[in-house]
């Protein structure tokens, strides 16, 4: 799985920590805390409405589990460091970065990926708006953009403010969702094709329509 470090300088450290783990990872842990080791364990989660049971190593990210174990490759791995937003999915309705959380920490959680956004064969309004407004070129960031945008519209409807607000004491309503607001709220999703103006238009339209 996603071992990005190819430097041999760390070989010694990795082997040392690995062998220490094999010796007995849970021996020192307090009894009241549940103890489990490095070996794969079973995790149950609801993905796009279906209960999925996975067997994952603790170190597997939610992103890798979705792509490698469940074959849901719509969610993309860009930076794998929480810097690009390509891996955005919803957990219990909130947008999060699936590269920065562990699959084994999602027991019982409700996950939505880009594959789960349509309903009854109909695209989500934001998916349709991306097509209409040409909100992509290469498409690599698109599923992350759309997952982020859908949840962001929900946050705006719930009255969450953004850094654009000049007075946070005022309440925020969806009518305040200007282009500047959308750009700020979507800043966690990078697009190297720079389709930003079209993405902002697509989100604005979906916010008014959905």
């Amino acid at each position: 799985m996603g071992e990005t470090n190819r430097s041999s300088r760390f070989g010694g450290t990795a082997i040392a920590s690995g062998s220490a783990v094999v010796k007995g990872p849970d021996v020192e842990l307090g009894r009241a805390a549940a103890t489990q080791g490095v070996e794969p364990r079973v995790v149950s989660l609801t993905v796009n409405g279906h209960i999925s049971t996975l067997t994952v190593e603790p170190r597997m990210t939610l992103l890798d589990a979705l792509r490698e174990d469940l074959g849901l490759t719509g969610t993309k791995k860009g930076c794998d460091r929480g810097e690009c937003g390509a891996c955005t999915v919803h957990v219990d309705g909130r947008r999060i970065l699936s590269c920065m959380t562990l699959a084994a920490m999602q027991e019982g959680k409700r996950i939505t990926t880009i594959e789960g956004l349509e309903s009854n064969g109909e695209l989500h309004p934001l998916q349709a708006a991306f097509i209409e407004h040409d909100g992509f070129q290469c498409g690599f960031c698109t599923s992350g953009q759309i997952m982020s945008g859908v949840a962001m519209i929900g946050e705006a409807k719930a009255g969450w403010p953004s850094a654009v607000a000049t007075d946070l004491r005022r309440s925020f309503t969806i009518a305040d969702l200007s282009g500047a607001e959308i750009r700020e709220r979507m800043s966690g999703n990078l697009c190297r094709c720079a389709c930003y103006p079209n993405i902002v238009q697509a989100v604005a339209e979906a916010a008014g329509r959905s």
Binding site: S17, M100, A163
Partner: protein, 331 residues
């Protein structure tokens, strides 16, 4: 990532005992810093203890004495959206909303936020250049390397890194307290004492001991809270760490400052409180720009810029001035 064990905590006392007994155990909450550190091999814990299930640690509440208590497991986005926080302590909400992205704010816990480690590129580099935080005793690559983003106050030859948290700057300005539970009970650490200067042991970012867990951050009720502002200057408009930032909170008599609280981010190993400036600002009119500037300058006599960050000395004074003026407009 390296192999590690993962278990879930449901009881606070057992959680603390497990950490106290096991030097290879790390807590994980939001994971937004720790998972990156593990991927970059800057942290290699053998065991992770998932503390998200600990009871009653995600609450945001106002205590009878008017102080604000933020549970360590509260998420940044929930704190920023909280009406009480927005109304009484805008500097906290602003600092949170100017940090990271919507996705990361939904994940990151408040306790983890103030525990996050430096963004010094040498520290994060998995090619493992000399770094006393990464490998104590190996040296500091930034001291005579690329140090545009580094400290101008309080650094040592061992480390010139800065603390990356925005909201920590707001907490420092408001004299918040970090509530910490250990095996012998609870202690309250004044925020300005929580993070430490690098000195000879930059591997320690803060004063927490093994076997201690942050349970909450408490912000005392302050008249200055409402007239407060956070200003952040960075290389791009959003989704970036601060080059320099300032938290300001003031109380006034008409136009004159009765008290001013000022802290800077991006300039030191910890949020940098401007004590001398705060004293000098008392009684100065918010209309007296020269007076404000010279009062702020009293906190910069001990600034020690590095080869690439002399601009921060001027920038930080301007950022402090603008934050102060914006806070003053709310008084």
């Amino acid at each position: 990532m390296h192999p590690f064990a993962l278990s879930r905590a449901d009881d606070l006392a057992a959680t603390i005992a497990a950490h106290a007994q096991d030097p290879q155990l790390a807590f994980i909450a939001g994971g937004t810093d720790l998972i990156g550190l593990m991927k970059d091999r800057a942290a290699l814990p053998e065991r992770l203890l998932d503390i998200n299930g600990l009871p009653d640690m995600a609450r945001i509440e106002t205590l009878p004495d008017g102080s604000l208590r933020i549970g360590a497991l509260a998420r940044m986005s929930d704190v920023a959206a909280n009406a009480e926080v927005r109304g009484r302590f805008p500097v906290i909400a602003e600092a949170l909303l100017l940090a990271a992205s919507g996705q990361l704010r939904n994940m990151a816990s408040m306790g983890g936020n103030i525990m996050q480690r430096t963004r010094c590129a040498y520290f994060r580099d998995d090619d493992d250049p000399p770094c006393n935080k990464r490998r104590p005793g190996s040296g500091c690559s930034a001291h005579h390397g690329l140090n545009r983003n580094h400290a101008i106050f309080g650094w040592s030859d061992a480390c010139v890194a800065t603390n990356p948290s925005d909201v920590a700057v707001a907490f420092a300005a408001l004299d918040a307290n970090v509530l910490v539970r250990g095996s012998t009970g609870q202690r309250s650490i004044p925020f300005t004492d929580f993070h430490r200067l690098p000195e000879r042991t930059p591997e320690h970012d803060n004063v927490l001991d093994r076997g201690e867990l942050i349970v909450a951050i408490e912000v005392p009720a302050r008249v200055e809270g409402r007239a407060s502002h956070y200003l952040k200057v960075r290389d791009r408009q959003s989704y970036e760490f601060a080059l320099v930032s300032a938290a300001a909170a003031v109380a006034t008599d008409g136009k004159h400052l009765r008290s001013a609280r000022l802290a800077l981010g991006g300039v030191a190993h910890k949020p940098w409180r401007l004590a001398a400036a705060e004293t000098a600002l008392r009684g100065v009119s918010l209309d007296d720009i020269i007076g404000l500037k010279s009062a702020i300058a009293t906190s910069f006599t001990d600034a020690r810029p590095l080869a690439h960050n002399a601009f921060k000395v001027e920038l930080a004074q301007r950022v402090a001035l603008r934050a102060l003026q914006a806070a003053g407009e709310r008084a």
